[in-house]
Amino acid sequence: MSQSTARDRRLRDRGLDRVSSGTRWLAAAGVMAVGAFSAAFALPQLLEKAQAKTDPPTSVPATSAPDDFPAPVAADPSPSTTVGGLSAPSQPPVTSRHRSRAVTGAS
């Protein structure tokens, strides 16, 4: 008879094998619960944090809109770059071959 078999028989004689088995079931259930919690809550949060690190920061408007006027909306979903505090266009101007409908000049 091996050493482990003798120990199992002693535990069975004292009725402890059921406790041990129950404990193992409880432990297994606990691990599953923790896993489920992680999947439901912790993991998405971690993923969200990881995503936030890769996304470019959104710009915060420097000015506040008056209460009785609609808030300005973004002119274009493509972000413009900002160097030295002034924003560059997201796309530079190109030579136009179309009929102009507006004139820029000093006033």
């Binding site: 506040s64 909306v73 002119a75 505090g85 266009p89 997201s90 004139v103 820029t104 000093a106 006033s107």
Partner: protein, 321 residues
Amino acid sequence: VTAPGGEARFVALGTNIVVIVAEDAPHGLLAVARSTVERETAAFDAACSRFRDDSELMGLRHAAGRPTVVSDLLFEALEVALRAAALTDGRVDPTIGGPLAALGYDRDFTFVPTREAGRSAPVTVTPAPGWEHVRLDATDRTVTVPPGVQLDLGATAKARCADRAASAAHLATDQGVLVNMGGDIAVCGPPPPGGWSVQLSDDHAADVHGDAPSVAIRDGGLATSGTSVRRWARRDEPLHHLIDPTTGAPAAEVWRTATVAAGSCVDANIASTAAIILGAAAPGWLGDRDLPARLVRPDGSILTIGSWPEDAGLRAAGVEH
């Protein structure tokens, strides 16, 4: 009944306003866009005008240096003006109201005396007091202007108004909109195929014609500053409205016209105004900020900066020389 698409024109903020919506926009939306823009210009005029005794800005003169609660709109305009000053190291300074008035530009330009009427008045040059002396407190929305300091928001308020008006008109119509306020151009929403085509000129009131150089933009803004308009003379000394705050005198005419494209109309106008005042340093300053620009010298020759299209400059040279 308004025809589909098209454009609306009116006068406000002392200049010509043009509102353009996409040519295939449904009936009635141009009228909606126009009324939206009119509302914005009326609000800015009441808040920021230097030429209306009843404007909120002029009311600050009576505050005698005490903190004054102002409207959200004036507070915003002052924030934009001080931001412009900070970003240009004071070259675009809102405290030039006094120096401008001392040179004779103390009323709507339509009524500023030109050469003959102003002959007897002496030319007085005084440096701007400095934008650092103007205090804003966002917690209670107050502004403190030292006694004797006169603010002029001309370099930023109109362009900021164009940005807000274009956004508001786009929001109201769900159409692509271009708003042109005396050459300060803001666009918002989907552009037409090929972008918004804009003719380049020294004067925003120039006629549109096929041979003139034009560029297309798809977002943000385009602005032009120049010394060839709003000129007058005192004692035979020619003057223009772009003042160097450090001297209080009109900026040296290294560039006749500066046009800049930026992520917003107000940023474009800050940069174009700064370029005129910076003079010979303007190309490097604009290049450091990745701002596409077109500078025209007094002789008509052209220098393009950054990603500004070179061929537009060449075409302009052919027209202007």
